[in-house]
Amino acid sequence: MPQMTIAKALGEGLRAAMDKDPKVLIMGEDVGKLGGVFRVTDGLQKDFGEQRVLDTPLSESGIIGTAVGLAIRGYRPVCEIQFDGFVFPGYDQIVSQLAKVRFRSQGKVPMPVVVRIPFGGGIGAVEHHSESPESLFAHVAGLKVVACSNAEDAYWMIQQAIETDDPVIFFEPKRRYWEKAEVSVAQPPAPLFSSRVLRPGGQVTVACYGPLVKTCLEAATAAEAEGLDLEVIDLRALSPLDLGPVFESVRRTGHLVVVSEAPSESSVTAEVAARVQQECFFSLEAPVLRVTGFDTPYPPAKCEEDFLPDLDRVLDAVDRSLAW
């Protein structure tokens, strides 16, 4: 099995999708010659040409709005938004058109568009480059939202997202782009809209996604040294959520910690907590605890280590849950 970084796996996934279907287009700022600011699309324009890998004007509403038109025409555009905090000029087109054209037309006009967004902090960046806006999309009916956390998922989930006949907002953990792992290119490990148990355990369930999956796996390893047995679940699909494995796990452990970089208020983690209390009420030995970013704007980078949930904060929540 080849070793790949997440960035490389995404690029290879895009390449495979483009090879498979000539209607797949890549469009975004600097995605062509430069290969994207994170080099995810490196080499694709050279191989597929300027009509399939479009270096677009600097205009996010334009990227999404024209992708909607191209989808009406029968194309399957994959849009790159350069950074999480830059998606908002395109948010109107995402919410008003991309999410609603299928419903408006009652299925006559599908919207098979993928919007890739590198998200999350931890890279010492200036403002608007470290945000976690996934809940703003998960709240919008008509959109599907996923987040990958490792190279193998990156390779497969991007292809599965492109094959989906609905718009998919695809979040990529930017601070993990350069982390390598083995990628099985033979077949996808799971359907796109499914969560996965990455580490089985019996005492506390930890649900997470995106960049913090690695953090939680490391926390589980550290806990093991202290004799604690954590089960780590990578949610992967944020809308629709696939909480079956979480319910099953919580019914065994009685304890749940939900982890995300995003602010907690009205968030994906809030949704997980609400549904788990509804489905697993009598199994819970403690309230569902959340370890998240604060309900503040993303801070200046020199504060981000305090803002971002880390291994210790995850284990602190685990301890509090068990001590309840």
Binding site: S59, G65, A141
Partner: protein, 401 residues
């Protein structure tokens, strides 16, 4: 801004400059010296060096067809207003006054072309073969648009102002990628896209971005702006310092101002613009200079913000009357033709009324229909739960009946 000295509104001996017009002194059909006109408000056919050839084939029969189109869509429009007043529709968006702008553009479209409307384009919809009854659901609240956009080559109404300019541009980029633009014209192999929006939309970022993208990708889009002078209560001078058609120059493509109440000029200019786009010379901006004779919608009250004098002045520039006069004077058309069209219009109105009153409400499961290609488990669960909850009242509802 220049002052209106030297121009007396309503006095045909003086003419306003474009600056007069955009500063709110709009009571004229004379949209400046660049206005393209083939039929005067008095019904006199006048030549136009540049666009004459694009209306050369319009004989008496075709002019009658255009007249019929306009009368029928006006009648449908008035019936829409009436149905709202009778409580049959939640709202209606009138096109009154814009019949020529819409029929001229709509009849210039070829079957293979694509159109992206705003929400007032009942006349263009008519030209695309969409029956006026198919528009009612949007305003009655039974659907968000009932026709097949790909079959009719007419996208669904877009209500968020300006969004469709980017969608149209993207579609037109696809026409380029599909090699349907430029090259040899073999009838239906070349395509263009027409995007409809109003003067108010020109203040939206998406219209700007649409212009930028269309220019960057040589996209075959005719940006067709119906300048009806009012964005609900906001007059044109709050949107622009220059006449709208002149904005195209800043984006590097042509902009033409046409008399939007002159169906021949709208047809000719639209045909020219679409031909330019199909041959690879797009995009093009067309500003159809017209007037919204009614309120913005049935929920609006235009008397709160504009003078009745202005409306009265524009009544003299009526898009239908000038064609009627021309048909009588220059083609000797008999009154019987007009009576027949009126009768047809009345029948259409009657058909609309009957159809509207008989429209069934959608069933509650419509809420959940086609949100996704495959409904998510949670929405599926909500649907099942709600329908079961509703079903639990079936017995008591049944016993009341």
């Amino acid at each position: 801004m220049s002052d209106p000295q030297g121009w007396i509104p309503g006095d045909p001996r003086s003419r306003p400059t474009p600056e007069h017009i955009v500063t709110g002194l709009k009571g004229t059909d004379a949209g400046g010296e660049d206005l393209v006109q083939l039929l005067t408000p008095e019904g006199v056919r006048v030549p136009d060096e540049r666009f004459e050839s694009y209306a050369a084939d319009i004989d008496e029969a075709m002019l009658k067809d255009l007249y019929r189109d306009m009368v029928l869509v006006r009648r449908a429009d008035r019936e829409g207003n009436a149905l709202q007043r009778q409580g049959q529709l939640g709202i209606w968006v009138p096109l009154l006054g814009q019949e020529a702008a819409q029929i001229g553009a709509g009849r210039a479209l070829e079957p293979q072309d694509m159109a992206f409307p705003s929400y007032r384009e009942h006349g263009v919809a008519w030209c695309r073969g969409i029956d006026p009854t198919d528009l009612l659901g949007i305003f009655r609240g039974t659907d968000h648009g009932s026709w097949d956009p790909l079959e009719k080559r007419f996208h669904l109404y877009t209500i968020v102002i300006g969004n469709q300019c980017l969608n149209a541009t993207g579609y037109a980029m696809g026409q380029v990628f599909d090699s349907r633009v430029g090259g040899a014209d073999t009838g239906t192999t070349r395509e263009a896209t027409m995007c409809f929006f109003g003067d108010g939309a020109t203040s939206q970022g998406d219209v700007h971005e649409g212009f930028v993208w269309a220019a960057a990708y040589d996209a075959p889009v005719v940006f067709y702006c119906q300048n009806n002078q009012w964005a609900i209560s906001v007059p044109l001078e709050k949107q622009t310092r220059v006449p709208l058609y002149q904005r195209a120059r800043g984006y590097g493509f042509p902009g033409i101002r046409v008399d939007g109440n002159d169906v021949l000029a709208c047809l000719a200019v639209s045909r020219w613009a679409l031909a330019e786009c199909r041959s690879g010379n797009g995009p093009v901006l067309v500003e159809a200079f017209t007037y919204r004779m009614d309120s913005h919608t049935t929920s609006d009250d235009a008397s709160r913000y504009r003078l009745a004098d202005e409306v009265e002045l524009w009544k003299l520039k009526d898009p239908i009357e000038r064609v009627r006069v021309n048909l009588v004077r220059e083609h000797g058309v008999e009154p019987e033709f007009f009576a027949d069209v009126d009768a047809e219009a009345d029948a259409l109105a009657e058909r609309l009324r009957a159809f509207c009153r008989a429209m069934p409400d959608p069933s509650p499961d419509r809420i959940f229909s086609e949100v996704y290609a495959d409904l998510s488990p949670q929405v599926e669960a909500q649907k099942a739960e709600y329908l079961a909850y509703r079903e639990s009242f079936a017995e008591s509802i049944g016993s009341e009946a």
